[in-house]
């Protein structure tokens, strides 16, 4: 790691930032999440209404396409908001401080085939505790991709550009299977059953019940819902892959993190995470995971606070000479995809020593 910095002083500065935000949470934050939920649910309803409104317009085909396209886009955007700015963040406990039984990590379920309780384990516990530690964090390449030279090459990786593309399109299924760990065979059946139950309801909603309401116009509704879910899959894939795989993000070995202090844990979160620059709308649409560094430092801080906290974190990093990885969406996604293509082949150089 980075030697020669006073890592505990560094950690204390970050603690102070967290403390300041916790102390200042109040009604404005509550209004933010309430409004986000209202907007998202209204978009979902509006999108579905537009999809239905388009059906009688079928004879005027371009008009039909325009209306069903708008409806599908609205539904897709609502699903993105639901999964990212709302679901992911509520399930992290970011809004638990409100003590509101309606918006609480203990009861929240999201519009995704992955059951929230499994996500809490695979993501909140495993990924956020063991961020980028090889052999511990199953988010490093999601167990199937080689995203770091430190991972040994296997022939199957030759096909990774292909299955990476498949993962992107069906990302919610990848998320759902994430907690099913072959190393824990005794838990697998229960987890698969949980996924089956959740996925059954999700599929029933989007591909049976809503289409049935359209009667003979079943098919356009199925397609619209498929596209909306697909939009969400691609977008969440892109944002999440920009979190830890762009050039410059570090991975760690278990030895490196043995006896890690709180300051050391903070440092690892920063070195292993990448931010994406962009405007306010982009940040909201990314669930503020464009502030991946801040999210990893403070996973249960309300996401609406990350934008204001980011410059403070960056300043602390600058003061201690800690690299702070941020770049445009194109840069972060581009270098991620390049790595996935490159590392499909065995590395010519020897693995970079830690």
């Amino acid at each position: 790691m980075i030697q020669s910095i006073d890592i505990e002083a560094f950690g204390r500065e970050l603690d102070t930032i967290q403390k300041d935000v916790k102390a200042s949470l109040g009604d404005r934050d509550r209004q933010y999440i309430k409004r986000a939920i209202t907007v998202q649910r209204s978009l979902a309803m509006g999108g579905r209404a537009l999809i239905f409104a388009s059906l009688p317009l079928m004879p005027a085909f371009p008009l039909f396409l325009g209306v069903i396209g708008a409806g599908t886009a609205a539904l897709g955007v609502s699903k993105i908001l639901e999964n990212m700015e709302i679901g992911h963040n509520v399930i992290h406990g970011q809004w638990d401080w409100m003590q509101d039984p309606e918006i609480h990590s203990s009861t929240w379920e999201w519009d995704n085939v992955c059951p929230a309780d499994q996500w809490k384990h695979s993501h909140n516990v495993v990924h956020h505790t063991w961020t980028n530690v090889l052999g511990r964090d199953r988010d490093v390449g999601y167990e199937i991709l080689r995203v770091s030279e430190k991972q040994a090459w296997k022939p199957v990786h030759l096909a990774q550009p292909v299955y990476n593309a498949m993962l992107a399109m069906m990302f919610q299924w990848g998320v759902a299977m994430h907690d099913v760990d072959p190393r824990e065979p005794h838990l697998m059946a229960g987890k698969l059953a949980g996924i089956g139950k959740k996925a059954g309801k999700q599929l029933m909603k989007d591909y049976v019940l809503w289409p049935l309401l359209a009667g003979p116009m079943f098919l356009p509704v199925v397609l619209a819902n498929l596209v909306a879910n697909g939009m969400r899959n691609l977008w969440t894939y892109a944002i999440i892959f920009c979190g830890h795989f762009p050039d410059g993000a570090r991975v760690f070995t278990e030895d490196e993190v043995a006896n890690e202090t709180r300051g050391g844990w903070y440092l690892r979160q920063i070195l292993g995470s990448c931010n994406i620059t962009g405007g306010p709308l982009f940040h909201v649409m990314s669930g503020n995971l464009s502030h991946q560094i801040e999210h990893h430092l403070f996973p249960d801080m309300p996401s609406n606070r990350y934008p204001a906290v980011a410059p403070r974190v960056e300043a602390v990093c600058a003061k201690y000479g800690v690299p702070y990885n941020k770049g445009s969406f194109a840069r972060q996604l581009g270098t991620t995809l390049r790595t996935i293509f490159r590392l499909a082949l065995p590395s010519r150089r020897r693995a970079v020593a830690a």
């Binding site: 638990d96 003590q99 609480h104 990590s105 909140n124 956020h128 505790t129 909603k205």
Partner: protein, 355 residues
């Protein structure tokens, strides 16, 4: 249930999946909050000042409400500074009320988080979250009840009396009510009128600022009456002592209308920690996280990161005060979910742990 009905309800469940993972009513609640069925809501329909610092709120509960039994209480919640604060209040209206509304009568407590807002700031049209009526402080089939109330402790009893009057079946009630001064009386005028219309009801008001009278003189036959008492802690302790001494504890029903609040300890060097679910009680210091305390006591509670980021260890604080070791902030709101991997005891604590 008949076969048809059960089939219909199954069909209803399937149709409800159209909103999964929500329920359809959550979409209706976007425009009509009372439709919410997961978290029940009530709309403030009217406010009425009863006495200085005491206000009656008329509430219209939404979907999923069930009628209360006179004497029962209900949990009421409102977001204050973004945090939902929940308190329990007795319902003061009679279940016979026909407009579907209930009333609660709230006294502003000094330092009270919710009560002061309800009394001083709440406006008509506000939506509160409400639980369902509960509690077994209800009237039994007795012909000669005795009611002892003080201050806003009169609220559940008012519901019983109003209910009896509404049904036209008022038993031979003796009701002793303590208020500081005439101006502090709650429902005084109404109950005096009721006494005129229903002579079986006897209403005795004692103004404590003007001195007390011996209870034996007020109600000479108290030993043969089944008794319901509600009021401040001090009064209830006195009543309990007197009834116990007379061997009449069985005939006494008590409602504590204000929970015992944990006094914030000045010295916060740990305390006794009780894990209510498993019944384990241990001493803890003020620096050791409660998760470690539980493990040292032989419990295996659910947890994940052990460093305050994953919320797997969230546990309900039922009473007492804990300190968040990261921020030093103290948490003493009963019902809060606390992260036991980063919180330590600040005084005596009771937790309701998941196992």
């Amino acid at each position: 249930m008949s076969k048809v009905a059960s089939l219909l309800s199954r069909l209803g469940d399937v149709a409800g999946l159209i909103a999964t993972p929500l329920v359809p009513s959550e979409y209706v609640a976007l425009v009509w909050p009372l439709a919410a069925s997961r978290a029940r809501k009530a709309r403030v329909e009217a406010v009425h000042d009863e006495a200085p610092g005491v206000r009656t709120l008329t509430l219209r509960p939404g979907r999923g409400w069930r009628a209360h039994r006179a004497g029962q209480h209900v949990q009421v919640g409102l977001a204050i500074d973004g945090r939902v604060t929940t308190r329990t209040y007795s319902i003061s209206s009679a279940p016979e009320r026909s407009d579907g509304c209930i009333t609660i009568t709230v006294k502003a407590q000094p330092g009270g988080r919710l009560s002061r807002v309800l009394v001083e700031q709440i406006t008509v049209g506000t939506f509160l979250t409400v639980g369902l009526p509960s509690g077994d402080f209800v009237l039994t089939q007795t012909s000669r009840p005795l009611f002892i109330t003080a201050g806003s402790g009169i609220t559940p009893i008012a519901s019983m009396i109003r209910s009896a009057a509404a049904r036209g079946q008022v038993p031979e009630i003796t009701h002793v009510h303590y208020a500081r001064t005439p101006a502090d009386e709650i429902f005084g005028e109404e109950l005096r009128t009721l006494q005129v219309d229903h002579p079986a009801y006897k209403f005795i008001v004692v103004h404590t600022a003007h001195g007390r009278r011996r209870f034996d003189e007020l109600v000479p036959d108290w030993r043969v009456r089944e008794t319901w008492a509600c009021g401040p802690q001090g009064l209830l302790e006195d009543v309990e002592r007197v009834f116990a001494a007379a061997g009449r504890s069985d005939a006494l029903h008590v409602e504590r209308f204000r929970p015992k609040l944990a006094p914030l300890p000045a010295n916060t060097e740990g305390g006794r920690v009780r894990f209510a679910t498993s019944g384990v009680e241990v001493r803890a210091d003020g620096r050791t996280a409660l998760l470690q305390v539980s493990e040292a006591a032989g419990l295996a509670l659910r947890h994940g990161c052990r460093m305050g980021i994953c919320h797997s260890c969230d546990t309900i604080l039922t009473s007492g005060c804990v300190r968040d070791l990261r921020t030093g902030a103290s948490i003493d709101e009963p019902g809060t979910r606390i992260q036991i991997c980063v919180c330590a005891a600040a005084g005596d604590v009771e937790l309701q742990e998941n196992t």
